[in-house]
């Protein structure tokens, strides 16, 4: 079967124009073959006598299959033909082609899942890919819809397979499914940071370079075997992760930092009076709460006592320079973050109040910027709202001080020999004895107290 065109694989023999025993000369048309395009005459490329017609009309055969055999020319043929290599059996077609490719068996189509699960096709595809049972995932999307982040998170916390031990790969697979930018993943590897404990500040909670750098300051604690956690909702999972970060941070602080503690009861008469007078003129949206004044005092005091505003790194104190006041904010349902108000000392109370309000709202919405989480130079915790009178805090490494405020309460106070009832607050200082001594801590508290006696100057 001759190749009759660039795109021809097979041909159908329509008819023979010769029969065994016929004499044929070179170029003579001996058969007609049907291709996709049309019926085409096939010529013989050699003179001789037709011996055997192998293929019958109507058969479809691949290019190169033998069609017929021709015996070499008899002695009496025209002289010119004699030199033709004697005895060469000139078949109508050239060398046989490879047998047709075995018919590719259709691979069985994966069975379509019996019922349609909730969630968009993309979510279902992702769930299928990560081996997550959508039934068990709690949707945090609009109207309880399951979002891609939910699936990723669900995949990250292996569900307890009854009886069947979770395959060792699960931990690594869980890690892989967490969204981590490449540089963050590489940095984590270099700094030996366990990514599963790091909360991401990027889109969809992606862990980014900054997150890993922050986590790196917390020494990686060897993880015990992962406790089989019950079905954990994404929100719980996030709090769990935050809890782990705080736990490690506090453990390190207590392990490494020799804390010393001081406290002072501060008279807030003038401060509260000044606040009430200002609030009377201000619209509700701009009113100040006592915490704002206390934060302002702490910030300015930190500016005046720089030894407490900075970090303890490589066995020496490095000053923080500007005052970035870390504010401990409790998240609904547990967990604590300490974002920083930048340059708090320079902000007037009203502006500090706005910053505080903004920080709290964004902290609770999980929308804090990476930089806000990492560069506090001194931190304040205020549990007054929770009705506690006095709180001794735990310093956030690598800072060297933590200021605590209790509730603002009315107390009988002796002033110039007379007893009166006045609003007071107990301010405390926890400080790193490697960086400062009690003398400096005391000066810090008295500075705060003096500042609060002249609120209008802050």
């Amino acid at each position: 079967m001759p190749a009759l065109g660039a795109d021809m694989d097979e041909g159908t023999l329509l008819e023979w124009l010769v029969k065994p025993g016929d004499e044929v000369h070179k170029g003579e048309v001996i058969a007609v073959v049907d291709t996709d395009k049309a019926a085409i005459e096939v010529e013989s490329f050699a003179p001789g006598t037709i011996e055997r017609l192998i293929v019958n009309p109507g058969e479809t055969i691949p290019v190169g299959t033998l069609l017929a055999t021709i015996a070499e020319p008899m002695a009496g043929q025209v002289a010119g033909k004699k030199q033709r290599a004697a005895g060469k059996k000139a078949a109508a077609a050239g060398k046989p082609m490879t047998p047709r490719k075995a018919r590719r068996e259709r691979t069985a189509e994966p069975a379509e899942p019996a019922h349609l699960e909730a969630g968009s096709p993309l979510v279902r595809h992702l769930a299928e890919e990560l081996g997550v049972d959508l039934e068990r995932v709690h949707g945090t999307g609009h109207g309880g819809a399951i979002t891609r982040a939910d699936v990723t998170l669900a995949a990250a916390t292996p569900a307890p397979q009854p009886g069947k031990p979770t395959p060792p790969r699960t931990a690594a697979a869980a890690l892989a499914r967490q969204r981590v930018t490449p540089i963050a993943r590489r940095l984590a590897a270099e700094l030996g940071v366990d990514l599963s404990g790091v909360t991401g500040s990027g889109p969809d909670g992606a862990v980014r370079e900054a997150d890993v750098r922050r986590a790196a300051e917390i020494p990686a604690v060897p993880r015990q075997a992962p406790r089989p956690a019950g079905a954990v909702s994404p929100a719980q999972a996030r709090l769990l992760a935050t809890r782990q970060v705080t736990a490690r941070l506090m453990a390190r602080s207590k392990r490494e930092i020799p804390h010393y503690y001081l406290s002072d009861t501060i008279d807030l008469t003038r401060a509260m009076a000044w606040m009430h007078d200002r609030n009377r003129e201000l619209a509700v949206t701009e009113r100040i709460v006592p915490a704002a004044l206390l934060l302002k005092a702490a910030a300015v005091a930190a500016l005046r006592v720089p030894a407490l505003n900075g970090f303890w790194l490589d066995d020496q104190f490095s000053p923080g320079g500007r005052v970035h006041l870390g504010v401990a904010i409790s998240l609904r349902g547990g967990g604590l973050v300490t974002p920083a108000v930048h340059d708090a000392a320079d902000l007037p109370p009203l502006e500090l109040m706005n910053r505080l309000r903004d920080l709290v709202t964004r902290a609770r919405a999980g929308r804090l910027r990476g930089s806000e989480l990492t560069d506090a130079t001194i931190t304040v915790t205020n549990l007054g709202d929770q009705g506690v009178e006095l709180v001794y805090g735990v310093i956030y490494p690598p800072q060297v001080a933590l200021v605590g405020f209790g509730k603002v309460v009315e107390r009988p106070v002796a002033v110039d020999g007379m007893v009166g009832v006045r609003p007071v607050v107990v301010a405390t200082l926890a400080a790193d004895h490697r960086a400062t001594d009690g003398f400096t801590g005391a000066r810090f508290l008295t500075t705060m107290s003096d500042l609060l006696q002249r609120p209008e100057e802050m």
Binding site: P2, L4, G5, A38, A39, I40, F45, G80, A93
Partner: protein, 331 residues
Amino acid sequence: MTPPVRPATNLDAAHRLDLLRQMLFIRRFEEKCVELYSGGEIRGFVHLYIGEEAVAVGVNSALTPDDNIVSTYREHGHALVRGVPLDSVMAEMYGKVTGCSHGRGGSMHLFDTSRRFYGGNAIVGGGLPLAVGIALADKMRGQSRVTACFFGDGAVAEGEFHECMNLAALWELPVLFCCENNRYAMGTAIERAQAQTDLAVRAGSYGMPAWPVDGMDVLAVERSAGLAAETVRSGGGPHFLELRTYRFRAHSMYDPELYRNKDEVELWKERDPITALAEQMRAAGELSDGDLASIEDELARAITESVSSARSAPAEDVRDLAKFVYTPRQS
């Protein structure tokens, strides 16, 4: 307007035998290609020149080795008579590295710049601008060369034909436009493609001499091409030859040939340029059966050897795939 006639001499008898030999050379090569293609040894698109041999031989004999040739994909005949070695052309059909284009061009892109054969061009009309450019370079540097540019009747319908004819005439460039009018552009007869089918008249409108020539008569082709080439070479500006010829086989290897009927083909076969010259020479006692037989044997042996050498020739090393995409840098 047809070219004047020159008397023949016995010196011409030897020359006529050589023209016959060249036409037979092309014919036998093309026939071997049919066989090899059907056997699946050579692939892709192969466009045969059987029936048009007189054009290639006639025009080429009017050129000097120093002239340039730009051809099309129906170019085996042009290349062989120009002197591109048979073995290198056959090796190119087999895609071997010893092929005249390193096995990369194939039947449609034969190159041999040592013989100023600037290749076949598979885009219809694609070669015309190149020919104009080569002629421009020669003219700008005072070279008295002719650039012969071959193309078919199909190319006449391309915008490039109009642009190049005008540009060549405008700048009086030394181009010999050779239109091989075989009456069919693949499957479209010229009557169904051209409002003006007399291509010589068409070309004349560009302000250059344009002669119709009997493309089945090698002597007529040689004579008219010679006159045109002389004028072009001496700065007389571009010339156009409409070489009226016919291809006895399909456009490329095999096609249903539904666009023409058998008897038209038979009619033209009666004017086969090879038999026409052979009979003319026999009548003049210039050709014996022995001469013909020895020519056929010599051609058969050469062609068979070229096939076996092509079969055993090496393929290009795949690692050289990216060679010649850019010229290797000196630094």
